[in-house]
Amino acid sequence: MGTNELIIQLAYLLSAILFIVGLKRLSSPATARRGNRLAAIAMLIAIVVTLLDESILTFEWIIAGMVIGALIGATMARLVKMTDMPQMVAVFNGFGGLASGLVAAAEFLRFQIGGAPAPSLDAAIAIMAGTLIGAVTFSGSLIAFGKLQGIVTERPVTYPMQQVVNGLIFVAILAAMTLIVVGPASGPGSGVAPELVYYGLWAGALVLGILLVIPIGGADMPVVVSLLNSYSGLAASAAGFALNNNVLIISGALVGASGLILTRIMCKAMNRSLANVIFGAFGQAPSSDAASGEKRTKADVNSVQAEDVAMLLAYATRVVIVPGYGLAVAQAQHKLRELADHLEARGVQVRYAIHPVAGRMPGHMNVLLAEANVPYTQLYEIEDVNPDIQSVDACLVVGANDTVNPAARDDPASVIAGMPIVEADRAKHCVILKRSLSPGFAGIDNELFYARNSMMYFGDAADSIAKIVEEVKQL
């Protein structure tokens, strides 16, 4: 090992250590910002020492690529609205997957048409894995982006024999991979050129990524986004195996692990298995039992106006706010904060109960409320709120539905049975801000809306909250 190579390897080791320390700090609020910077420094070190690599001969393409990428990345990061954060994360995941896939592709083509010595069996397998995971992450993330951005329908897209089709594509991909790695295709006169099979592998993997994500509905996006996050790490690891580069393997594995942890948290928060989320096409259509049961209308609920809500909240001692995806859609987070400020000025204790899967990505509500300057010390997990929720005077549900549906607790036959919920129905009073009585993502009716201690205030959340604020001011 030459001096140059030694320096590079030691610097990579330093990067890997800093990534680990950075991630560790990212998981605690007090140190998170420093942790993120530390990880960025680790990345900078890895980039700088890589430029010392003796196989790098020209810098024109490198400079062009980095300048373009940095400009695009920085612009996106600065301009994105906090409400658009889920699709932003999805798109970044996709780019990570694409980069790893292309690195694997270059490694393959180098020996196939570039005349480099053939890779060992292990490296060839790693190249195939990197290609598959990278391409699936890329196209899957683009579909997730499309769904979150509203370009692709948020509803699960299903068709007959869906799993069979996906299965066949997967088998074809495996066959292509095997053919390339061990098959006679690599010998002369074998008919199909291996690079053609390889391009076919890319096409198949891209299609598979699309097909795996289209049947997944909008409210299951937190799981999909975390899973794709994990994939983007595993793709980097696979590229690391192909290049025999430890810093890629380590960093990729760290990201793979963190994505899996988040995926597991999200699945637990819905009391569903990962397989059910990915293949279940949940929330496909309003379920039949909701339609067949007695159809209830707005006449069956206690419909109230801003004045009533203002009175209840202003004279309460303890208020718990339960935000859901509807809060993000209505962009009502700033108005909500204003309402909370007025209530606190009157001596009301205000807390927020955050369901882990509220919104479209892990932590969506936390980011949204942070943007509106709500201190994170006011945000509580559901298990911290539920035990004494009966002493809460008013529970204000803003744009949430399934996550406050008591059927999850009471009805073992419900599709959401066993899912942890905010037990808003046990509070002394419950106010629900909602446009209509339409069911949530799970497609089932919500008994909370019809409860005796519930009040429904129909309308756009931002307008409704603004009116409540006006009324509170006059009290």
Binding site: S27, L57, N229, G259, P375
Partner: protein, 97 residues
């Protein structure tokens, strides 16, 4: 199976365990920043992209390498910046924003 790949598998498995151990209990407040910060780290493929874009083995490789480099750089620069932007917003009670 060669010795190198065995070492690589060791490294991978131990790094996965390290990841699980280091991250285990993440407060929900940090779910999004952790995800986007981790995502920026997955842009480490930039290291591979740099070598391919610069090795001068013909136009095809320069183009593949450069596209990979652009994608990885967007991922890295955008990811770390947007994570920082989010974390700047998180504040405890009473802190100035």
């Amino acid at each position: 199976m060669s010795g190198t790949i065995l070492v690589s598998i060791y490294v991978f498995v131990l790094a996965m365990f390290t990841g699980f151990e280091v991250i285990t209990k993440v407060p929900p407040t940090l779910h999004t920043p952790l995800m986007s910060g981790a995502n920026a780290i997955s842009g480490i493929s930039i290291v591979g992209a740099l070598v391919i874009a610069g090795m001068g083995e013909g136009l095809l490789f320069s183009v593949i390498g450069t596209v990979a480099l652009v994608a990885a750089t967007i991922n890295v620069v955008g990811g770390f910046m947007v994570t920082d932007r989010m974390l700047r917003m998180f504040r405890r009670d009473g802190e100035a924003s």
